[in-house]
């Protein structure tokens, strides 16, 4: 609750302060939020019970402004707040028009994202979900790189349709609760028993919203275009945090709400996820635009995470959570590096780049760390999560596991290709003058790289933080499933 208020206030203040100061004020606000989050973590016990609960009627008795934080929410909050600081640091390196609006939208976005991760009421969840869409839309459209609005409108309409379907499902579930009072509370919605056919429809509605955001395979066409169009900060928000909204939604809302048809949906999600893993990776290998390449690599990684969640085993969910955190950090870092390259070389086309490592060895080293993290090399943050995910899918179905396992090889192919073409070899035309990192660029990259290595060495804290909550969710699902069987 307090986190949301802090970032909303910071957002408004950022808009109001004079032009030059907006950057600093925004950063200060983000750090304040992060600090408060750390303070909360300090007094937090990860036993699966929701802490820091705030509950007030909002619309009427049926809809409460109800928030609470358990282990999974805490993890997502940390991810959000850390990444927003990094994103602001990264965005601050560049001058742009209407700065105060830009930073204020980022902070507003942060508030909405926090809301999504802590909401404890179906309609509240929907509201924050929608709210997160608005700033990102304006960020992408107003500071778009080419001025072509078609892709951002496509993105908005895709996600809006998905959210409306989710709203319809929630209202349907609410109408099934069967007594007056706080209809849409998480516990009430979860307790609703649906018939198989109903749960298929309701599940379809909810999944549509999540599948657009994740994105699952047939709904991914907005992703590469929007990534390429948007300014780097918006791309980072989208890929680093917003995708995780969908995954978080799968864990927290989707499966607990419609466990009745879990066998069907988990099959669908796993198969789509595994296809996305291979499909995304194969396309990524052929890309020359670095942003586009990263978009497809993201598709591939997220597919694996979704598949892991859908196995509905504790290993899968834990792996997914670890990997969500890791992927968020990595992808934000990679986009940061691409942004730096683009600003220096005025291009992010791999065929025009090369030999950067010779000119700026520090930058090359940090970039290598991120690339290795994405490739899931042991002792980087990508490794533990991917291992757990693959294990869970392998247990679910051997063949799918093997196919998903290709990701390790394919990922190495495209990431190393990207690194090699941009960093190694002889300096080519566009990069003959490539100064090494400047003072303002160090902090963001260093934070990201420390997180990559730190998490690689000690990932256990995430597992401990989220164990109890994941157990709870699995218990909810399995109980209903048990009753049906």
């Amino acid at each position: 609750m307090e986190l949301i208020i802090i970032s909303i206030i910071a957002s408004i203040v950022t808009y109001l302060v004079p032009k030059g100061m907006a950057k600093m004020v925004a950063l200060l606000g983000a750090i304040l939020t992060l600090g408060y989050n750390a303070f909360m973590l300090n007094s937090f016990t990860a036993d699966g019970v929701k802490r820091f609960v705030f509950d007030k009627p909002w619309f009427s008795d049926a809809i409460h402004f109800s928030v609470g934080i358990d282990g999974i929410s805490m993890l997502m909050l940390l991810l959000t707040n850390i990444l927003v600081v990094v994103i602001l640091l990264g965005a601050g390196m560049q001058e742009r028009k209407q700065e105060s609006l830009f930073y204020s939208l980022i902070l507003f976005m942060q508030a909405a994202l926090i809301g999504v991760f802590v909401a404890n009421d179906g309609i509240m969840f929907y509201i924050f979900w929608e709210l997160a869409l608005i700033p990102i839309y304006f960020l992408s459209a107003l500071w778009s790189e080419t001025g072509d609005y078609k892709t951002t409108i496509k993105f908005f309409i895709y996600t809006f349709i998905g959210s409306l379907a989710m709203l319809a499902s929630f209202i349907y579930l609410g109408s099934k609760v069967g007594y007056e009072g706080h209809l849409f509370s998480y516990d009430n919605l979860v307790a609703v028993k649906l018939s198989y056919a109903e749960s298929m429809w309701v599940g379809f509605g909810i999944l549509l919203a999540f599948a657009v955001k994740i994105p699952l395979l047939p709904l991914n066409s907005w992703q590469p275009d929007t990534y390429v169009e948007s300014p780097t900060a918006a791309t980072q928000l989208l890929s680093g945090i917003m995708l995780k909204m969908g995954l978080y939604g799968l864990i927290r809302w989707f499966f607990p709400l419609v466990p009745e048809s879990y066998d069907f949906w988990s099959k669908v999600i796993i198969v789509l996820g595994v296809i996305a893993v291979v499909y995304g990776a194969l396309i990524a290998i052929r890309q020359n635009d670095m942003k586009r390449l990263t978009a497809f690599s993201s598709l591939s990684h997220v597919g694996l995470i979704a598949a892991g969640i859908a196995t509905l085993t504790i290993v899968g969910i834990q792996g997914a959570l670890v990997q969500m955190f890791a992927h968020g950090v990595n992808v934000v870092g990679i986009f940061l590096c691409i942004d730096i390259i683009e600003r220096r070389a005025k291009s992010r086309d791999l065929t025009h780049l090369g030999g950067i490592a010779k000119q700026s060895p520090y930058f090359a080293a940090l970039f290598l760390i991120l690339v290795l993290g994405t490739m899931a090399v042991p002792f980087t943050n990508g490794f533990p999560g991917e291992l757990l995910l693959l294990k869970s899918i392998f247990t679910y179905d051997t063949i799918l596991g093997v196919v998903a396992g290709l990701t390790i090889i394919l990922c190495a192919v495209y990431m190393l290709r990207m690194y090699q073409k941009s960093m190694l070899g002889m300096p080519s035309g566009d990069v003959y003058l490539f100064p090494d990192l400047q003072k303002s660029e160090w902090p963001a990259l260093i934070i990201v790289c420390i997180m990559v290595l730190g998490m690689g060495v000690y990932p256990q804290w995430i597992v401990e933080l989220t164990k109890a909550s994941s157990d709870n969710i699995l218990k909810i699902i399995l109980e209903t499933v048990g009753e049906i069987a």
Partner: protein, 471 residues
């Protein structure tokens, strides 16, 4: 009731000023009158004693200003108040035309409180006739004349059809009073005795009202009339007239024909509503003129308001419709005021002329975004509160209608984006003429934006008000 008299006197006064050519006083006087009427209505509402006061004024059992009537009167008054604030006195609309607006409002208020079909007919006529004049107020403008003729012909036809319906109803039931109708149709509905005469009558009246609220399939006149009429008349038609017609419709259909709901008109209504939403939104996406776009999006909004009739509980239905109507009025006032401002500064009402609005005036752009989001039903605006109430109430009765409404919302997003694209996103080299925004226009915008946001962020306020009145 007293409010009607106050408004009527104010309107006479405006006419008088028009004759005396003292037009500069007209707007302040109109505003004061409306403010007094708003005050009276609010006091009566808060006092919760409309019955005792108004019973003595019941003109032979033809009018009854109960709770719902006062709610709707209030919002109509506020609507006209904001509309008047939002426009500078133009040369084309003088004091006499201002008087006509207020006469028309009197008709609208009659429609909110009738208990007898004769009063309903009277209300519709008083509401419409001044508008035929207003639509043609720009005498030298061809499209304004076209609008007036079209509006007059359509309006005359629809009232004729409506009157025919009333005659059928009288033939079928032997009464024209709402309560009598309710009793008669209750008997007939229960014993499956409803005669074709009653069926036909209900449907004819329904068609007559569909003309007035501009719902599919009787919507064809709106785009031309909206585009041709002077903007001040257009906004009045889009807000006050539409909502007044809805107030009359829900009064008649919820109280008078409530018992005939399922067998006779529920499906017709649901189909009209679904078609309005889909056709209105879909056609709006391809419009190039802001007023035409709003005409089509207004058709879709009428479709949403029709959904409010589907619910099971009349007092909740009326409340839901009221909230939605409020959101719709505030949002429309904002958008039309902005159109007015752009037009006043020498631009056309084409979407093109909104290019670069956000660069020239940040507040206008912000207000536009708020209004559009509210119309689209995005959370934390009053529009969401309204849509949520209407859709949840209809969910149990006609789930397919709710699904269509949601699909329509998704299409509707495209509509509002075509506005955004010009107003906010476009970077133009050819800037708008410098926009001059008067104080009163700013006040109208601030009030509307504040209402949309406050109720959107704290809907509990509204719920508390509802509990206060209904219990």
């Amino acid at each position: 009731m007293i409010a009607i008299i106050v408004v009527f006197i104010g309107a006479l006064f405006c006419l008088y000023l028009g004759i005396k050519k003292q037009e500069s006083f007209a707007v302040p006087i109109a505003l004061t009158t409306l403010a007094i009427a708003i005050g009276i209505t609010s006091v009566q509402l808060i006092g919760k004693e409309p019955w005792a006061l108004e019973l003595s004024l019941r003109s032979g059992g033809m009018m009854l200003f109960d709770f719902s009537a006062q709610l709707f009167s209030l919002i109509l008054l506020v609507g006209l108040f904001l509309v008047l604030l939002g426009f500078k006195p133009l040369k084309t609309i003088g004091a006499d035309l201002l008087g006509l607006l207020m006469f028309s409002l009197c008709g609208g208020m009659l429609l909110t409180g009738f208990t007898h079909l004769v009063m309903m007919f009277l209300g519709i006529e008083v509401l419409s006739i001044p508008l035929y004049v207003l639509a043609g107020a720009q005498k030298t403008n061809k499209s304004s004349n076209e609008a007036a003729i079209k509006y007059f012909l359509m309006g005359a036809f629809s009232t004729a059809i409506l009157l025919m319906g009333c005659a059928f109803i009288y033939g079928g039931t032997g009464t024209l009073e709402l309560e009598g109708l309710n009793r008669a149709t209750y008997m007939q509905g229960h014993m499956k005795l409803a005669t074709p005469l009653v069926f036909g009558g209900v449907l004819l009246i329904f068609i007559g009202f569909l003309f007035k609220v501009a719902a599919v399939p009787f919507h064809f006149w709106t785009p031309d009339v909206y585009e041709g009429s002077p903007t001040r008349a257009t906004v009045f038609m889009a807000t006050v007239v539409k909502i007044a017609a809805f107030a009359g419709l829900i009064r008649l259909f919820a109280i008078g024909f409530g018992e005939l709901k399922d067998p006779v008109w529920l499906n017709t209504l649901a189909i009209a509503s679904a078609l309005s939403i889909v056709i209105g939104n879909a056609t709006a996406t391809i419009q190039k003129n802001a007023k035409r776009l709003l005409a089509y999006s207004g058709i879709a909004q009428a479709g949403y308001m029709l959904i409010a009739f589907v619910g099971n509980n009349y007092s909740t239905d009326i409340w839901n419709l009221w909230v939605y109507a409020g959101a719709y009025i505030f949002a429309s006032v904002i958008v039309f005021t902005i159109i007015g401002i752009v037009e006043e500064n020498g631009n056309s009402s084409d979407l093109e002329s909104f290019r670069g609005l956000s660069i020239h005036n940040k507040f206008l752009a912000f207000a536009l975004v708020v209004a559009m989001f509210s119309m689209a039903g995005i959370p934390l605006t009053m529009g969401f509160v309204g849509k949520y109430g209407i859709l949840t109430a209809a969910f149990g009765v006609k789930p397919w209608l709710v699904v269509i409404a949601l699909v329509g919302s998704a299409i509707g997003i495209g509509v509002y984006f075509s506005f955004f694209k010009q107003a906010i996103l476009s970077r133009t080299d050819k800037p708008l003429n410098k926009l001059k925004v008067s104080l009163s226009q700013n006040i109208a915008l601030v009030i509307s934006v504040a209402a949309i946001l406050i109720i959107g962020i704290l809907p509990l306020l509204l719920t508390n008000i509802k509990d206060f009145f209904i219990n």
